[in-house]
Amino acid sequence: MADKKLDSLATERLIGIAWKWYDQMRDGLLPSISLPTRTKRNIAYDDESEVWKYGDRESTRSAGTAKSALHLLKMAYVIWFLKTQISQNRSSTLRELYYISEGWKRAKFQAQDESNFLIEDLEILTDMQREAFHLRPEEDGATIFGPMKLREMTRRGARDIHCQDDVGEAGYQIPTNVETVELLDHEAQFVIAIETGGMFARLIENGFDSEYGAILVHLKGQPARSTRRILNRINDQFGLPVVVFTDGDPWSYRIYASVAYGAIKSAHISEILATPKAQFVGVQPSDIRDYNLPSDGLNDKDIAALTSELTDPRFSSDYWKEQIELQLQLQVKSEQQAFAAKGLDFVTREYLPARLSDMGVL
């Protein structure tokens, strides 16, 4: 992890921000930063990398108002802290950073969202990932179960792990920093990323991984960066197709979108996080209709989320328009586990094989 080259590059770029401010102030100018605006109106499809990235809209924050001046002051404190942390070869979590700011008086963060957001700003400004600043997220990485072999650099040395033979029933847990993991080999046909733990366990129990040569990845809700990164790498390195299997509601479509296209708040690193070729399996609104799945009615928030997705550039394809409009018409949503109504084996025997053949994966 202690990559001296990366450390000096990160330090250099962080200090570069401070130098820019120093020069601005010396010249009698208000210090400022320019960042792309982080809204869905400002993400654009990049043809070359096939992912959604920030567009050309930039906003400049200069210390001309109390609010912006304070933002810059906080950023200066964070840069100063990270510079020290890197030089001492220490690391901390995002949550620890938030608590460390307690001692910064005026520059202290009011909420963790604020510090997380500021770190994302720094990633954009330096064009580096927060791991390079020795910052770790708390969130768990994904769990993997399937016919594939990898090597993890642990504190006790390198470990080679086969994700079926060397792991328990719960699967292999990837670390928060997946740059320490090396992908070695596989005997798989495709990767299936699953939203809920219940469905992940169902597929393992039914032996779906062995029967169809599937690498099962548990997303654990909205996927962490490390999860998206590992999907991106498996797809890229092994050339395996990636499919995403979630609940049939607007929030789950966003989980798929963040795997496939990247999240709005991390669009600056979409290239390494997103898997543009990832396909959506279901639950599709048309599945709810065709299989007559048990369902719940949509609430106001669901409807607002669906309506918002109709204008989200990531859902602008004909397929999504059709499905979302159908769901608004049906006014229902279903969970993955709703397939259990047809029997515990239905999902692995009937639904997935049929759906995956349709998609051309099997």
Binding site: I15, A18, W19, W21, Y22, M25, R26, G28, L29, L30, P31, A63, G64, T65, A66, K67, S68, A69, L70, L72, L73, A76, Y77, I79, W80, K83, R106, A107
Partner: protein, 600 residues
């Protein structure tokens, strides 16, 4: 004997004095507490009117002393023209005796009831006569009278009369004792404060028990005494017309042109034509029916409105503003004097002022100051046309909150000046609802409301700019220090940013272990000359440069520096101490000043 005869024995005329004895509330003597205010009001009104007529700047002394548990002694002394000795008993000892009742001009008192009612009230409650000293000039002696009113006849009763030595060369002093208490003390001081606001040329000194309050004048200009005018045909009724018609009136045409204002020969002939009487007929010979025709014709005829300027004496915008500034500390004051107008043939002028912010109470209803002919109206606010006009305006248009009356740190002054102020009752507490008057009040206040709105929006804009200033002033030094630490350089000098961005006069106060530093940086394009006031518990004996003067009050020292700073230059002083306190700049437009108090 029939009943009518029986009743006739009991039927007799009632003396005015007797009538008022029974109906004290009509004159503002409903309670002993209010009696004091009414007495002082009447005496002060008389004094101001007299001084105005004599063209002297009023210098009025009011003394209020407790004589015993229940008896209060009131003294009001003025430097007016005095009263000739033979008139003194009538002025003070006879109700309805006065000089202004038959004149058409703006004056405070009119009917000649007020002060004699006080005399009556005194003799009814304490049994004591009222003492009056008056002197008409340096060559005449001063006379002292003790006067009462004969209640049955309404004639003065002179208890004693003597020549006395008096240090004033001219003026009048009245001393009244009656049963009362000092519960109205606060209201009384307020009354005099209000009086002082609308009489900027007067100096009023009050001694109440052991406390002295001075309301000084803001203007040395003697106000032009309004001149009496002839009645206007539109403001006249049949009874008055009959009284005016005498054997020496001449022809109707002569009568009309000589006795009324704004009536020339052409108008007189038009009136005669409409009344179907001959212009050349002897006016005294008109039959009652013809008199009625004449007055109807006078109402119908098109006659220009009466001249307003000579018979009225508005205070003026500048003086109202200055007076209010003297008595109240506010951030915004504007006043308006409307052009003259007329209701029922009576000329009137509306003056209004609005004050905002400063030390006015930030919550609750606006403070309303009502005046009629330069006399404060202290009672029955809710019944007054002024209050109704204020409540009828939509103050939200001017970004002022409103629940019936406008609310917030707001002061509203309205002055109605007229030859005949339409009061709702003889106690002169409230102005009757006259559409012409209400309309003028509303117009004046709406005009002022627009100014206030502009002020408030500018102030809000200034607050935004101040936010900008605070960012630069309070955060930038810290940012500069941190950035310098990261890049391992000396902190950059950020004062050019301050100057460039702000173009202001920056006033900084900072306290450290070494003491207090006051620093002024002039980033404006001009030389500034100002006074810096710093109030804190520090004496600042070692200040360098030292303050130009220092005063102490309750352990707080007010230190004042007179400073002149060129554009782009700075000024600095420091002294030992713990800091705190306040800082103020005078002599520079507040919009040009940015105060940064690092202690605050």
């Amino acid at each position: 004997m029939d009943l009518a005869e029986e009743l006739a024995k009991q039927q007799r005329s009632i003396s005015v004095a007797e009538f008022f004895e029974r109906n004290k509330h009509l004159l503002g003597f409903d309670s002993p507490t209010r009696g004091i205010i009414t007495t002082i009001k009447e005496a002060v009104d008389n004094a101001l009117d007299a001084c105005e007529e004599a063209m002297v700047l009023p210098d009025i002394y009011i003394g209020i002393r407790r004589q015993s548990q229940e008896v209060i002694k009131i003294i009001v002394e003025d430097n007016g023209p005095g009263i000739v000795p033979r008139q003194v008993p009538y002025v003070f000892g006879k109700l309805l005796y006065g000089s202004r009742f038959h004149q058409i001009k703006q004056s405070r008192g009119q009917q000649g009831i007020g002060i004699s009612a006080a005399v009556l009230y005194a003799q009814l409650t304490s049994g004591l006569p009222t003492a009056v000293i008056s002197r008409t000039g340096p060559d005449s002696p001063a006379y002292r009278f003790e006067v009462q009113i004969n209640i049955e006849t309404n004639e003065p009763d002179v208890v004693s009369r003597s020549e006395v030595d008096w240090d004033r060369t001219h003026g009048t002093r009245i001393q009244i004792e009656f049963r009362s208490n000092l519960a109205a003390r606060k209201r009384l001081i307020e009354y005099l404060k209000y009086t002082s606001v609308v009489n900027p040329h007067a100096r009023i000194r009050l001694e109440i028990d052991d406390e002295t309050v001075l309301f000084d004048r803001v203007s040395d200009e003697i106000i032009a005494c309004p001149k009496a005018i002839r009645p206007h045909p539109h403001g006249i009724e049949i009874g008055q017309l009959r009284r005016m018609l005498g054997p020496e009136s001449g022809t109707i045409e002569e009568f009309l042109t000589d006795s009324f204002s704004r009536v020339g020969k052409k108008t007189a002939r038009e009136i005669c034509g409409k009344a179907q009487v001959s212009c050349t007929q002897d006016a005294g010979s008109l039959s009652p029916a013809e008199q009625k025709q004449l007055i109807d014709a006078m109402q119908e005829a098109k006659i220009p409105p009466p001249q307003v300027t000579q018979c009225l004496s508005p205070i003026g915008e500048d003086l109202i503003t200055r007076s209010l500034e003297k008595e109240f500390q506010m951030d915004f004051i504007r006043s308006r004097t409307r052009p003259g107008s007329v209701f029922s043939g009576h000329p009137f002028i509306i003056e209004a002022a609005i004050g905002y912010g400063g030390k006015l109470p930030p919550e609750g209803n606006a403070q309303i100051m009502r005046f009629a002919n330069r006399v404060p109206l202290m009672y029955q606010q809710g019944a007054c046309a002024i209050t109704q006009a204020i409540a009828g305006i939509n103050w939200k248009n001017y970004t002022i909150a409103q629940t019936g009356l406008p609310t917030g740190p707001l002061l509203i002054l309205v002055h109605v000046a007229s030859t005949s102020v339409p009061f709702t009752s003889e106690s002169k507490d409230a102005i009757a609802s006259i559409p012409e008057i209400e309309k003028e009040i509303v117009l004046a206040l709406q005009d002022l409301g627009r100014d206030l709105k502009l002020f408030l929006s500018r102030r809000d804009k200034n607050r935004l700019q101040e936010d900008r200033a605070r960012a630069v002033w309070a955060i930038l030094p810290e940012l500069a220090a941190k950035v310098a630490e990261i890049v391992e350089q000396d902190p950059p000098d950020i004062s050019p940013i301050e100057g460039k961005v702000m173009r202001r006069l920056v006033v900084r106060k900072k306290t450290t272990g070494d003491g207090v530093v006051l620093e002024l940086s002039n980033y404006t394009a001009n030389q500034v000359t100002l006074s810096l006031y710093n109030i804190s518990p520090n004496r600042a004996k070692d200040a360098h440069p030292p303050p130009d003067f220092v005063t102490e009050l309750d352990g707080d020292y007010t230190k004042v520096w007179q400073i002149s700073i060129g554009p782009g230059s700075s000024w600095k002083t420091s002294y030992s101490g713990q800091g705190g306190g306040t800082m103020e700049i005078r002599g520079v437009d507040p919009q040009q000043v940015v105060m940064v108090d690092f202690d605050g």
